[in-house]
């Protein structure tokens, strides 16, 4: 038997093993603890504000009473609008990148664009949306401007996730369809897309969860501090949960009195975002069960 060299004796190795384990396990526990703390804090402070009327009524008395229904509705509308913006563009770009593009300057440029778009701070998207959609296109502060801005914000994530889902679809599906006389597009539409779609949608929904909680992109482009009525067109401003929390906590004259509403709104927003993630997880689980390739 070879003799272990100095510093390599079993005892030393066991010690290093223990130290390494201690650090990685602590990191794991710490991460979970932070998450748990935030959850407990928000739930603890917000749960008392939640009631049926809080979820279904308009705010009253300078927001110190009443509900947050228009903010919930606004967030959902903006999220849906963002999805409608990002899905056609993102899925289109993903199909091009995964199915058609051959390495070259154009593809490099598109990839660079996607990667950089993902790194742009959300407040910059807000200013961009203000300049382009609100002012230049004349959409004003509206559902339309906010949806487009949020859509652009999640576009890189949606594109990357969709491309990944397309790449995971076996090459043999494409070959089989092409060998049966399908055109490239027919093979994609009839065989590749149905197989990749659940994965593509999962990515889009997860991105949406992030967009729903964003504040900066919609401050300048879509959100109103207070609306009296339901929006009746895409050119109307809406309230949104994220900006509602911001307004109550920083701008109002009743910052202290509205604490319960602030935490209540935060809790609702959190549930909304977690709900979206849950939908994505369910789709993914279904996908894994259904596929055998």
């Amino acid at each position: 038997m070879l003799k272990a060299q100095k510093g390599y004796e079993p005892k030393r190795r066991y010690l290093r093993e223990k130290i390494a384990l201690f650090f990685v396990r602590s990191s794991g526990i710490f991460t979970m603890a932070v998450m748990a703390f935030i959850l407990i804090y928000i739930v603890g402070h917000g749960i008392s504000a939640i009631s049926f009327s809080f979820l279904t009524e308009f705010p009253k008395d300078n927001m110190t009473a009443g509900g947050i229904f228009p903010a919930i509705l606004g967030t959902l509308i903006l999220a849906l609008g963002a999805l409608l913006t990002a899905i056609p563009l993102g899925f289109g770009a993903a199909i091009y990148l995964a199915e058609y593009a051959r390495p070259g300057p154009l593809v490099s440029a598109i990839r660079l664009g996607v990667a950089n778009l993902a790194g742009v701070p959300s407040v910059v998207f807000g200013l961009f949306g203000l300049a382009l959609f609100v002012t230049e296109f004349g959409f004003g502060r509206s559902i339309l401007s906010g949806s487009l801005t949020l859509g652009l914000l999640i576009l890189p994530t949606v594109t990357a996730a969709a491309e990944e889902a397309l790449r995971q679809t076996p090459q043999s599906f494409r070959e089989a369809a092409l060998a049966l006389g399908a055109s490239r597009w027919q093979a994609i539409r009839q065989v590749v897309l149905p197989a990749a779609l659940p994965g593509m949608l999962t990515g889009a929904i997860l991105a949406l969860g992030r967009a729903a909680g964003e504040t900066a992109p919609i401050i300048f482009t879509a959100s109103a501090a207070y609306t009296l009525a339901m929006p009746d067109s895409v050119f109307r401003e809406v309230m949104a949960l994220s900006t509602h929390i911001l307004n109550l906590a920083t701008n109002g004259t009743h910052i202290e009195e509205t604490r319960p509403q602030q935490f209540g709104s935060a809790l609702v927003l959190l549930i909304l975002v977690l709900g979206l993630s849950l939908v994505a997880i369910i789709i993914r689980a279904k996908l894994k069960r259904g596929r055998k390739w």
Partner: protein
């Protein structure tokens, strides 16, 4: 006296060179395949046999940097000429791949995929499904499961679904790229049995020499991109003309 056989050339390759970028994958290949015969392509990995197979239905078109010179005709028509339509060629030249690759759809939808692409509708599709599955010797096993996902079948059944799917278009030629390499012996013998009885021009690539000997009328031996020897299977395996062929079939290399 030798009986005059009326053999018709269905595939003719003349002085074909094929490149992947700078790589010279096929060197000056000339070869004729006869109608309703089984032509086997054998040779060690990377010898060009699969490349040759895939250029017969233009599946190499999708490989970046692929380039061909020379002439390939099917029933006398050039398939690389200016008027050749790859999609049309693939309808006339069916293909079965190395691994069974049914779509994640029902058996019925797998078989009808090709016919639907050219606008064929029910009830004609029902007739086609039955005929194709019978031709692939699978009908009795799956006739009550047509709406079941093809992915739930066994490997051998999946491969026969793929054969039936190709046959549904009533191709003149069927290309098979090592169609039994992913199958167990029983499934293999079923597919081989089918090949032997099929009334179809078949070109099959195989790394299994016994298989080539069992099922083919003619055999082509490829080595390093060249066609070393091509002739009746029995002759090639019992009295090879080239020493390279002899070395390969006796297992001295490959």
């Amino acid at each position: 006296m030798v009986e005059e056989k009326k053999e018709k050339v269905i595939i003719r390759a003349k002085n074909v060179d094929f490149y992947y970028g700078d790589f010279h994958a096929l060197k000056n290949i000339s070869l004729d395949c006869m109608e309703k015969e089984v032509t086997a392509m054998i040779g060690p990995s990377g010898c060009g046999k699969s490349t040759f197979l895939k250029l017969l239905n233009r599946m190499n078109d999708f490989v970046p940097g692929a380039r061909l010179s020379g002439e390939v005709t099917i029933s006398g028509e050039s398939i690389y000429g200016p008027n050749a339509d790859p999609v049309d060629i693939r309808r006339r030249v069916g293909m079965v791949f190395q691994r069974p690759n049914p779509f994640p759809k029902s058996i019925y939808d797998n078989i009808t995929y090709g016919p639907k692409l050219i606008g064929i509708k029910k009830p004609d599709l029902d007739v086609i499904v039955e005929r194709a599955l019978k031709a692939a010797a699978l009908w009795d096993e799956v006739k009550d499961l047509l709406n079941k996902s093809a992915l739930e079948l066994s490997g051998g059944q999946q491969q026969r679904v793929c054969i039936a799917r190709a046959l549904a278009l009533e191709p003149d030629i069927l290309l098979m790229d090592e169609p039994t390499s992913a199958l167990d012996p029983i499934a293999t013998s079923k597919v081989e049995e089918w090949i032997k009885t099929a009334e179809l021009s078949i070109v099959i690539v195989t790394h299994n020499m016994q298989q080539a000997a069992r099922i083919s009328d003619k055999t082509a031996f490829f080595f390093l991109g060249e066609l070393i020897e091509f002739g009746p299977t029995l002759e090639l395996f019992t009295r090879p003309r080239e020493s390279k062929t002899e070395n390969y079939i006796t297992g001295r290399f490959g």
